[in-house]
Amino acid sequence: MTRQILVAAAAMLVALSAFAADEDTLTIGYTVSRTGALNLDSLAQERGFEMWRDEVNAAGGIKAGAKHYKVRFVSYDDQSQGGRVQQLYTRLIVQDHAQFLFSPYSSGLVATATVISEQYGKLMMSIGGAEGKTYQLGNHYLFQTYTPADQYLSGAIALLKEKNPHAKIALVYSDDPFSKAVASATREQAKQAGLSLVMDESYPPSQTDFSAIINKIVASGADALLGGGHYPDGATLARQLYDQKASLKWATLLVAPDSPQFASLGPAAQGISVPSQWAPQVTYKPDFGPTPAEFTKRFEAKYNIAPGYHAAGGYAGGMLFQHAIERAGSVEPDKVAAELNKMKATTLWGGTQFSTDPKSHGLQLSHQMVLTQWQMEGGKLVKEVVWPASAATAKVAFPYR
């Protein structure tokens, strides 16, 4: 009998301690592309998550009412494949009991993961999913931090209109959901700006050689190139534009030139511009959290590399969850969602406001993009903000070479 009581008491103690540990821990689940084509940008995003988590935990955790929650991550490698994402997000929710979710990286994977987060009613902060269509499906639990894809090249169009109102544009883009969404909006914006589109063509995401495409751009008489897609294709296109001495006055490519590693292209990187969700030089005055300069300094100290927008987006995603939980004073999903719905704030990331229209719930409304350009300064390639003029850190180099 005594033995039975002892066993029962021990079991109760174990159960109570587990319960107490659960109470003080907030589990956030996500997948990251540790392998596969999206590895570079996705890992940068994860660095942002991790830096936020480490700082929050070092400061005692997230305060919700009278409690402090330490942040715990559960993550899996999605191998950059949509097919893995649904299985892994189901596992995160059902087996790992993730209370909140971060999205995977890239529009295609976010769209796939959203099916699961909506099905289980889990709040998911979307970072790295810019394509707007995903947010127009009547979702309830998805919140977008990025400026939607249809705004990606609007800065480049405005700049071209100012610098060369008769610009002839070649729109050459990767055949993936994100790049197609960008291209679709750019077509309209170019038309509204009175700029002519002399070439409009997509290429497969696995394209390895752009020689023939560049010859086609030359044949079209274009003097500006807008487009690209993700990292390997964008970098190859930039290198071949330089090697083939393409007679262009302007080139804005998506995503690839934003990475610090783009500078490894050397002179081929010079003058190439990229729409960026964020740049270390921006001067937003945050309502909460670190300033862009403070974040950049701390990130560089931690990882020995300058943060790109993927990393800043990851950090901001965590911070937005934290702010909503602290305002709600609870980790109850409905209360946190209500705070996210009414959020209208500026952070190091810039403006954040989510659509509450049932048709586009969670769509990002207030975040603005900047246009950055690789410029040679003192023999070294540096990325400068060149648009909008109010945020510019350097004069735009036009023509770009």
């Binding site: 890992l43 497969p204 390895t208 020689s211 023939a212 010859n215 030359v218 083939q244 292209l265």
Partner: protein, 286 residues
Amino acid sequence: MFGILASILDGVLVGAVYGLAAMGLTLIWGVMNVINLTHGAMIVAGMFGLYYLASVAGLPTYSAIPPIAVAGFGFGVCLYWIAVHRVIGRPPLMSLLATFAANLVLIGLGTSAWGTVLFNVPVSLPGLTYEGYTFTGTHMMAAVLTAAIAGLLYLFLYRTRHGKAIRAVAGNREAAELNGIPTTRVLALAFGLGVALACTSGALIATLFPFTVLAGAAYQLKSFVVTVLGGLGNPAGALLGGVALGLLEGAMTPFMPVSWTSIVEFVVFVVVLIAFPAGLLSFRRS
């Protein structure tokens, strides 16, 4: 009009490098009936070899290619003994799985070491510019070196004792064995040679384009198309197949959206497989 010609010429120049990449694959198939799925990883190994020898160690770019070929040969022979030898003569699925597994291990190790960070080997060679179209010096050099390497391979296979032994084993392994040819060593030699060709083509591709650790998959796929076009097991056919594929890509691009070219390529692939199962230029067993 000149734009069309420029695209075709560019296609032919790049196609020659596709051909070199496919020669390694087809040589291994021709000699030992093994589809080497580490081919893409070996192409990437050649790319990284060039990066470390030329960009890090500072060797002149093109003089880094011979040591890459030699290292590729050595690695290929080791890989043969580790992953391929024990599945020779077994059903084709066995060797397919063995090389597929080796490929996963190699790509996994590569991804954990380098991530998918972009690497670039800047090469500056004067090109030719006419009416706004530029034929880069690197493309022309890659095509010339490919032709030279193909010529050397031909001389090796047809004029040397070891080359003749490889051809004999490819023709009939049992008969070669009865004539005193050490067939196991010849198979290792052929596998090493195939890997050396893949690494060399990778190094040449790295002079043209930036690359990541995953870049090999696209070239492996192209190598399969080229191999089928040129005839399974026929290195000379692979080179011609590569040029034909490049020509097809170059000639199509001015007239149709680029995203259609890969569709047309694979339609051609399927048609050739059905109409000419041994390839357009197969004379392997003749």
